[in-house]
């Protein structure tokens, strides 16, 4: 009963959230997807290249967090930040602080593991770099509709087949999960054991995998026919339903970001 309810709620969530995208009316949403992608790459590369210790920290405080307010998705952003980004970065921080054998000024000792001032600082910066990386991607996913990104990239020469694979996977995975639940329910109705010992449950996976895999293969054939019938392999130049604006300021921002990345890289090389 409990599990049944869980699946219902879960499927509902999956149906509603086919992607991270959160619809809002903001400049960040309207910016060209490639510009946003360049921004994300810029934030990540600069935080990794820049030799100055506080770069990733400042990027988070003065670029990423303000951008989340600017894009009016701060609630979703902080939700993801607390549930996903902080635990991941916290774990990385602990691992690096304990296992990085650098520095002499021991602050704290646990059995054979030392935490030194240097390893602490090192771990803090690396964790911050990872925070910058994940949170800027989160920002990107929250403000960019997948199909918008793909049509923009297709227009710039990304093969249509590639875009199709990415987009359909995003949508078909939740569908397959739902189907797996239907098969489980059907097999349980015929007495399949899904609640006893681990080994038995592992064994009961087999009658699930067969219908799911073979069913999917049949589906793939039908879907191939369906998209072929709609001119998927047509040699015409594809058009796009949505007009994705790419303004001069978009181009200017992109070049500026490329410039900043090069400066950060040059600074690092020059210091070496």
């Amino acid at each position: 009963m409990k599990t049944g309810l869980f699946f219902v709620v879960y499927n509902q969530l999956m149906h509603e959230r086919l992607s991270f995208y959160t619809k809002r009316d903001s400049v960040l949403h309207r910016i060209n997807p490639l510009t946003k992608l360049t921004l994300v790459l810029g934030l990540i590369l600069i935080s990794f290249f820049s030799p100055w210790y506080w770069t990733p920290h400042l990027l988070l405080l003065f670029a990423i967090i303000p951008l989340s307010f600017f894009g009016r998705i701060q609630r979703n952003f902080f939700g993801a930040f607390i549930r996903l980004i902080l635990p991941a970065a916290g774990f990385l921080f602990l691992m690096q602080a304990f296992f990085q054998p650098i520095g002499e000024n021991t602050i704290f000792q646990l059995w054979f593991l030392d935490i030194t001032e240097e390893s602490l600082l090192f771990a803090f910066r690396n964790a911050m770099r990872v925070v910058v990386m994940i949170s800027s991607f989160t920002l990107f996913l929250l403000t960019t509709h997948p199909s918008e990104l793909m049509s923009d990239l297709t227009r710039r020469g990304l093969p249509g087949q590639f875009a199709y694979v990415i987009l359909s996977t995003l949508q078909i995975l939740p569908q397959m999960q739902a189907k797996a639940q239907t098969i489980i329910a059907a097999q349980r109705a015929r007495g399949l054991d899904t609640e006893s010992s681990f080994l038995r449950r592992a064994g009961s996976l087999f009658p699930l995998v067969g219908p799911l895999v073979f069913g999917s293969l049949v589906e793939v054939e039908e879907r191939a026919i369906a998209i072929e019938a709609r001119g998927f392999t047509s040699t015409h130049t594809k058009t796009s339903l949505h007009d994705i604006p790419d303004t001069n300021s978009d181009k200017a921002i992109r070049w500026m970001l490329v410039g900043l990345i090069i400066i950060a890289l040059a600074w690092k090389i020059w210091l070496l």
Binding site: R230, G231, T239
Partner: protein
């Protein structure tokens, strides 16, 4: 008639790869522009294979051995390629779920998918999608996710996604299998309208009452061969078909029993409710 035919199959025999017996045998079929032809037959008779053949998927997609010629609008299938063929011949089939592209988030985008692929300009695309949605009665679904729809609604979307491409020939393989009677009637009405506007329709279907009401001609297929063809009223009431396991309308079977008891006075058996009422009233 052969010169006027937009769809022209001559002596077509086809065998799927890795099978021994042919799925289609010596099929000769001519369909003229604007004609609404329905294909009936028991399961495994070759209805879907015939649809795939006209739509170019046999042999371009399924491979296998084919002999004879398939022509649409004067072009021979074996000399064309599938992506050019689909511009003339549209295909919608039974399972609506697998006909959703999966790459689009709303019904409107889903319907535009085919038009994007064949390079229709944006403004024209929007007009065509809106018109097609109005035609099949799905305008109110435009912003919904195609996956959140019911089976019947998805079938309407699947049919609309082909109609919007404005093919010369429309091939439909049980396009109303998941619809309720009201929905089925509406869709048959839409298909009829398309035929009257000059679109040629080939429809594989089990629902004989609707065929009798809407189609111009019926082809009865059995074991890959055409057994009978003619106007719906005659083909669908033939005793010959009944013995071969074809589905017949309940009005036909009722009147058939009645005839044995001497209660049905007319020569011809009915297929639709109206015909039955009229016959019994006499």
């Amino acid at each position: 008639m052969e010169d006027m035919a937009i769809v022209n199959l001559k002596n077509v025999t086809y065998r799927y790869p890795l099978t021994d017996s042919p799925a289609l045998q010596n099929i000769n079929l001519q369909v003229i522009e604007g004609e609404f032809v329905s294909v009936v037959g028991p399961n495994g008779a070759g209805k879907s294979t015939l649809c795939y053949t006209i739509a170019g998927f046999v042999p371009h997609f399924f491979k296998g051995e084919i002999s004879g010629t398939v022509e649409v609008a004067g072009v021979e299938s074996s000399k064309s390629s599938l992506h050019e063929w689909v511009l003339n011949v549209g295909l919608a089939f039974q399972n609506p779920f697998n006909q959703i592209s999966g790459a689009k988030y709303t019904v409107f985008e889903e319907l535009a998918f085919g038009l994007e692929n064949i390079g229709v300009p944006r403004e024209e695309m929007k007009i065509r999608v809106e018109e097609a949605m109005k035609l099949t009665g799905i305008s109110d679904l435009a912003d919904r996710s195609p996956y959140s729809l019911s089976g019947g609604q998805q079938q309407r979307v699947a049919l609309t996604s082909i109609l919007v491409m404005q093919p010369k020939v429309l091939v439909l393989d049980e396009p109303t299998s998941q619809m309720d009677p009201i929905g089925t009637r509406e869709i048959f009405g839409v298909i009829r309208t398309m035929a009257e506007k000059g679109m040629t329709v080939i429809l594989a279907e089990h629902k004989v009452e609707w065929i009798a009401e809407f189609a111009d001609r019926v082809i009865a297929l059995h074991d890959g061969k055409i057994l009978l063809e003619g106007i719906p009223q005659e083909v669908l009431t033939s005793d010959f078909l009944l013995d071969k396991g074809f589905g017949i309308s309940r009005y036909t079977s009722t009147a058939r029993e009645a005839k044995k008891q001497g209660l049905w006075k007319k020569d011809k058996l009915p297929v639709t409710l109206d015909e039955a009422v009229e016959g019994f009233a006499k």
